[in-house]
């Protein structure tokens, strides 16, 4: 039971950006010893609220009270000193410094106040990590550990700096199941210590597993605050979206075309013993016209690598890729694109979008790249195409001049999709297209995949969410330890459990 006195109380927070009211009169409170989920679709104002709270942004109106005192943070540093720390989606520590150095950056224990006391630093780092059941070499560079471990290290640092309020912004979006469980153990322990945790995640299951209370935002406004136990999932989703749930339900009922019928024809793409040492063991994979092939497996099991080898983003050491019966010789993205393959990478920001360019420029980029710089897409045709896809995918804001960096995650993903759909690919590779985006946009993208496949496009669909893979795919390739271990037809007998068993045992096995 949380104390009756909130550790943090925000009232009437209003924040405006040019042309957008990101937050309008939002109230928010946080109690010590609770995990509080901040819910809302992308663009609802979650990140803005967090950034106001941590001093990244200054609110135009409203006040915040922390531990009984009115506070106004002019910078993240001030917020940190007052006891509010944030662990962001992308870990923002220094990858080339050691774990111990990362934990103590800016507040290193000193010998005689002069030089860093490394033995002391290492000892204390080990102590802190032991509290979260992490036994790792604290002298190794941060980059040598997985993202999950890095995140735990970031949390350890945050808690050690200021134990009052810790904000976890999408910490689980790139963790696999085991890692999430480890994170939750750490969160529960911190909760017992009386730390107030603010948790943001798009995974409803996780929200229900870990949170005690939730605040829902929609379009920059407060919808309300509930105890998690008192709000059903369906109510939560409907409050986040505000309207129709029918989108989600309709999708479930989509009849799927028979796998056998699809695979009767020659495959569009046939990979034979394609592999690269250290990335993924040689694999065979056939993708037919109009077929959605799902790839399932734990994080780091080689899902992304399969896609990258097929697309030529990494050069395969062995094997051949045959498209429409002719083998693909040079393996660079450009040759793959020339054969009508499109690839939406997992990491939108670093591998997909050019954030400084506008929506229009990002959308036209793939088509323009294929034409070369001497043959610009005529302005009228370009504007027509861009307008058409902004409308078809309902990209918001529907302004082709908007900078892509200012769009929410879901809309950025749609921009990437639009970029490739314009080129009318025959095979669309989607690597985690729905990660970190809100429920509404997720449903839209899933629906799009189904309809594209119906029109005859082949799709290679990668996702960490088994339900999603099951819902969309005709067959599912299962990866385990950088090896494609099984190819399962998606009929009635295939369930998430069976896929998980396959991942765990590494055997295709009969149902």
């Amino acid at each position: 039971m949380p104390d009756p006195q909130p550790i943090l109380q925000m009232k009437g927070i209003t924040k405006e950006f040019p042309g957008v009211t990101a937050l309008a009169d939002v109230d928010f409170r946080l109690f010590p010893g609770e995990v509080h989920a901040l819910m809302g679709e992308n663009g609802a104002g979650k990140s803005t609220l967090i950034k106001v709270l941590t001093g990244v942004y200054q609110a135009e109106a409203g006040e915040a009270v922390l531990a009984g005192e009115r506070v106004h943070f002019s910078s993240p540093l001030k917020a940190q000193q007052a006891g509010v720390s944030t662990v962001y989606q992308e870990v923002n520590l220094c990858p080339n410094l050691s774990v111990a150095e990362n934990i103590f950056i800016g507040r290193e224990p000193r010998l005689f106040g002069l030089i860093n006391n490394y033995p002391e630093m290492r000892r204390r780092a080990r102590e802190l990590l032991a509290r979260v059941e992490l036994d790792i070499d604290v002298t190794a560079p941060l980059a040598s550990y997985s993202l999950a471990i890095q995140q735990l290290i970031a949390i350890v640092r945050a808690v050690d700096i200021s134990a009052k309020v810790v904000i976890l912004d999408e910490p689980t979006s790139s963790l696999d199941t085991g890692e999430v469980a480890q994170l939750f153990r750490v969160m529960r322990r911190l909760k017992e210590d009386g730390v107030a945790l603010l948790f943001v995640s798009h995974f409803l299951e996780q929200i229900y597993e870990i949170s005690d209370r939730m605040t829902i935002l929609r379009n920059g406004r407060l919808v309300g605050e509930w105890r998690t136990s008192e709000l059903s999932r369906i109510e939560l989703v409907s409050r986040m979206i505000g309207t129709e749930l029918s989108v989600l339900e309709a999708l479930e009922e989509q009849p799927k075309r028979e796998l056998a019928a699809l695979e009767r024809q020659e495959p569009f793409l046939q990979a034979a013993q394609v592999g690269k040492t250290g990335l993924v063991a040689p694999f065979d994979l056939a993708i037919h016209r109009g077929e959605v092939v799902g790839l399932a497996g734990l994080l780091g099991s080689g899902r992304t690598e399969v896609a990258r080898l097929i697309f030529g983003a990494d050069r395969a050491e062995s094997g051949t890729v045959t498209i429409d019966g002719t083998p693909l010789s040079v393996k660079t993205p450009r040759t793959a694109i020339g054969r009508n393959i499109a690839f939406c990478p997992e990491n939108r920001k670093t591998e997909g979008l050019v954030e400084d360019l506008t929506v229009r420029e990002n959308i036209i980029l793939a088509m323009q790249a294929a034409r070369g710089w001497l043959r610009p897409v005529p302005a009228r045709r370009r504007d027509e195409l861009v307008g058409k896809y902004i409308e078809a995918l309902s990209i918001r804001p529907a302004n082709p001049e908007a900078l892509v960096r200012n769009l929410s995650g879901g809309n950025q993903q749609k921009v990437l999709l639009a970029r490739w759909l314009i080129t009318q690919p025959k095979l669309l590779i989607l690597d985690e297209p729905t990660r970190g985006i809100d429920v509404g946009a997720k449903a839209e993208i899933q629906r799009l995949v189904v309809s594209l496949a119906e029109e005859g496009m082949s799709v290679l669909f990668i996702s960490a969410e088994l339900e999603e893979v099951l819902r969309l795919s005709h067959k599912v390739g299962v990866l385990r330890d950088r090896r494609l271990v099984a190819e399962l037809a998606n009929d009635e007998s295939l369930t998430a459990d069976r896929i998980m068993q396959t991942i765990a045992s590494g055997e295709g096995g009969a149902a």
């Binding site: 957008v20 135009e60 983003a313 690839f343 591998e351 050019v354 400084d356 980029l365 710089w373």
Partner: protein, 353 residues
Amino acid sequence: MITLTRHRLFWPVVVLVVLLLGNLLEKPDFFAIRIQDGHLYGSVIDILRFGAPLMLVALGMTLVIATGGIDLSVGSVVAIAGAVACLHISKQPDQNAIGGVLIAVVMALGAALLFGAFNGIMVSRIGIQPIIATLILMVAGRGIAQLIMDGQIITINSTPYKWIGAGWLFTLPAAVLIALAMIAVTALIMRRSALGLLLESVGGNAEASRLVGIQSRSLVLLVYAICGLCAGLAGLMISSNVSSADGNNAGLLIELDAILAVVIGGTALTGGRFSIGGTVIGALVIQTLSTTVYTLGVPPETTLIFKAVVVTIVCLLQSPAFRRKVFGRWGPRRTPPASGSAPSEPTNVKVPA
């Protein structure tokens, strides 16, 4: 008004205007333009004329920087171009023959293009970091210029060649017209073809550009070649203006002025978005600064420091964070949300999820 101050060229233009007006205080006839023998004369014309080579070098630099690179060798290419041209002309029996001068110009520009392409190959094919790759030619280029001229300063006496840097056309200095023509053609190519977009994409996100199928290698090569060509043209102007080629001193430190002009013009050194118009203004700011130093009678020994101070102010003024900090305190910058007018934040804030 607010949209005006948000324009990316607003602050560079303000600085340029302030600098020009500053000159007026000391020299009331600063803006006066006289016509003499059908030629325009005046301080403003001088700024344009002496600024022409810098504008050209900065133009090429803008494109290189847009791809996330940098070219330190432009000063050396300036020297090489001058050396090649002057050497050829000096060997002519009649230095005033148009044909010989034209061949000299073509040879010089060809050499500059080749050296630029050499930089491009080092960066795009061999994969050397731009700053290191161009440092090679920056150092070696001076030596090459010396070799071409056998260690001497070549002085020539050629009227047609003199025209490039010191001649007149339509009452204006020919150098200004040449520079403006080059700038206009480049700007037109950038925005009419897809080159501008693809360069900004490569500079903005190289990996994403690779995955989207952009042939960034040949684009980068092209851009360094253009940069070399621009520097070569500037080298012709500089050597023509003094009718001689000096391998040691021609275009010395011009790479730094050019980089500065690009930055003042609002193109980030990290690559991506670029502004040719901004670069032109940046180059004019720097040239005006040099002129101002003379009109204001700043003691020569403090010239560099004076320049540094002004450049620092320009850069600070361009930073939205700095402006907010300094002017936000006593200016009426915060608009109350109720009024519904445009908010006070600069344009580049994020509107995140």
